[in-house]
């Protein structure tokens, strides 16, 4: 049993971390009343921007001469800038131009996944490099560096200390987001903007600024999920479409956690576990069943959606103006 847990839990956690980033980012975004369905695209962009940054760095100086600081800082900054730009596009369209949020989000998904797969597939051709494929081993190693004492702690080390630093960043971000949203004045204002922008506006809160700030911050956090996936989970190897539908699962997790970033920590790891459950479930002689097992996370998400809608409590509702754009003169 312990052996099973020792192999299952670390895998579930590494699967869950990208979801956690996405979920925390999307929660912050949705608290401002913006339903950003482009999260899937943003996570691709975050991942590929990090890859582009470290690709240039790694091919320029060679794997032996890389320093750990630059090796981590360059992809990190590139990732944040890329996701920030995506957040700005979304905000400009939905907040400034008041476009439909669902359609904008879908266009962002098309665009973002396109960017990810295009540069993932053509980066080598565009830069005329001589490497056969995008393999950033050294950068991957930097990102995967574990705490030095993790090995000496036995099962405790394997379950709690065996992850790269971004995993802990995700958990810390989730806690900080939870505290800010529920305990500070900024959080209160942000929630007011999401619940009823008209009232918030009347109270002297700058609605546009809050919406921009929260959505861009949310996009940057979501983008980190993409970076974690490429650099840590896949050890610096980019493969097109490998990231899959995790962005959409992250959005579903926001509903599952009823807009509370603190809950996203265990919920993401739970879903990470569901994602890899098919590896551990017995299939018997019929191998085709494995394909059905892979559908489990989605079926569970659907069940969760239904249960949330059945338990129609007042405190479990989405932000009041979620999905609507705000125009001061429409009152």
């Amino acid at each position: 049993m312990l052996k099973f847990l020792l192999s299952f839990i670390p895998r579930a956690v590494t699967q869950g971390i990208p979801l956690m980033f996405g979920c925390v980012g999307e929660t912050i975004t949705e608290k401002s009343g913006n339903l950003n369905l482009g999260t899937a695209g943003i996570m691709y962009v975050g991942g590929i921007c990090g890859v582009i940054g470290s690709f240039f760095y790694e091919t320029k100086v060679g794997a032996q001469n890389m320093t750990a600081f630059l090796g981590i800082a360059i992809p990190l900054v590139c990732c944040l800038v890329g996701s920030l730009l995506m957040g700005l596009i979304y905000c400009f369209l939905t907040v400034t131009l008041r476009a439909n949020q669902n359609v904008t989000g879908l266009a962002m998904t098309t665009f973002g996944i396109g960017i990810g797969n295009f540069f993932g597939g053509s980066l080598i051709k565009i830069t005329n490099s001589e490497v056969p494929s995008i393999v950033l081993n050294q950068t991957g190693k930097f990102f995967k560096t574990q705490l030095p004492f993790a090995k000496g702690l036995g099962w405790f080390g394997t379950i709690f200390c065996s992850y790269g630093f971004l995993a802990y960043v995700a958990i810390i971000l989730a806690i900080i987001a939870a505290v800010i949203l529920s305990r500070t004045r900024t959080g209160l204002s942000l929630r007011a903007v999401g619940e009823n922008p008209g009232t918030a506006d009347a109270a002297g809160i700058n609605v546009t600024r809050y919406k921009y700030f929260a959505t861009c911050l949310g996009a940057m956090i979501s983008g980190l999920g993409g970076l974690y996936f490429v650099m840590d989970y896949s050890s610096g190897i980019w493969a097109n479409d490998a990231f899959g539908d995790r962005g959409w699962l992250a959005i579903a997790l926001v509903i599952f956690t009823i807009w509370r970033p603190g809950h996203s920590i265990w919920a993401s790891i739970l879903f990470g576990g569901l994602y890899i459950l098919h590896i551990f479930l017995p299939t018997g002689t019929e191998l085709a069943v494995k394909e059905l097992y892979k559908g489990i996370p989605y079926v569970v998400t659907i069940i969760v959606l239904i249960i949330t809608s059945l338990r129609n409590k007042r405190e479990n509702q989405p932000p009041g103006s979620l999905g609507l754009s705000y125009f001061r003169e429409d009152r």
Binding site: T110, G112, A252, K294, E329
Partner: protein, 370 residues
Amino acid sequence: MNNTLSKVPLFHITRRKELPWYRAWLIRVIAVIMGLILCGIITMLLVKINPLDVYKTMLSGAFGTSRRIWVTAQNMAILLGISLALAPAFRMRFWNLGGDGQTLMGCLGATAPMILLGGKIPNIILILIMLICAVLAGAIWALIPAAFKAKWNTNETLFTLMMNYVATQIIAYFIVVWENPKGASQIGIINANTMAGWLPRIGNNQYLLNILIIIVLTVVIYIYMRYTKHGYEISVVGESEATARYVGIKVRRVIIRTMLLSGAICGLVGFLLVSGTSHTMTTTIVDGRGFTGVMVAWLAKFNPFFMILTSLLLVFLSRGASEISTIYGLNDSFGSILAGILLFFIIGCEFFLNYQIALKKTRKEVKIDA
């Protein structure tokens, strides 16, 4: 309370009254042209050819030979079909993002009789059974989220979305079950020798029948949405559920009926994909057109005839971009980037249809409507 209030903003935004249609279309056309220009510039920077050649290559990719025109028309028909399916649901403000899944289930519904009954019954009956199964499968897949939405107001956006992935895994399961030859992990062309369950060709054109069916469907949906009681009920529910309830429309019934229709048409498109186009089933056969269809329908403001234009635009971009990426050895996703850019422009231009910007000086003359 805060001194920014005393500052007068540089410009002032007000809601517009209804624009005359020609000015609305002028704004849209300008947006599309600007989007295409930006696409051209980006392509130029990436592959370093002069901008005119970019458009020439794209045009030749989409319409260069008669075969290419047929493929473009076929892609358009499929995309338009899915958009037509989604339009009534959107009109009702039901965000059906499950077009992919419903079409996939349609494909499954068409494939199952094709494999299991192929050659055992007369062809015409087989095709009819396939059609019925496909339409039913699509409708059921749409009914599930619709029922929960109608009964408990379950979030339909994510529900339909998750149904896509469940459908994908079910298809993946059946592909393993029916794989041919064993171990190939794909089905291959079904009934390649007997052509049982294949839609007949009209003359020499494989895709003509598909296209004709979709044209008829376009007209039918137009009439349904515009001139029938059902269509009227859909738009009332879309405008305001409270109003609909007040005038005695059974909102639940409208939601379920419209989604059944939506799913049934998706199923029909799935049938056309399997029986009339590729004669096989893969997990990627729909190729994300459930999402693109959302945008096609929305950009055309749910008018089936405008959807012909918007689907042409998107198919042209994707075929043109794929020509450029083939010639210059780039990745196929280039088309998604261009489509994304163009969509941003079209989405953004809606602002100028609904609002007008007045500079500070003219502020006093602007009438503010309550």
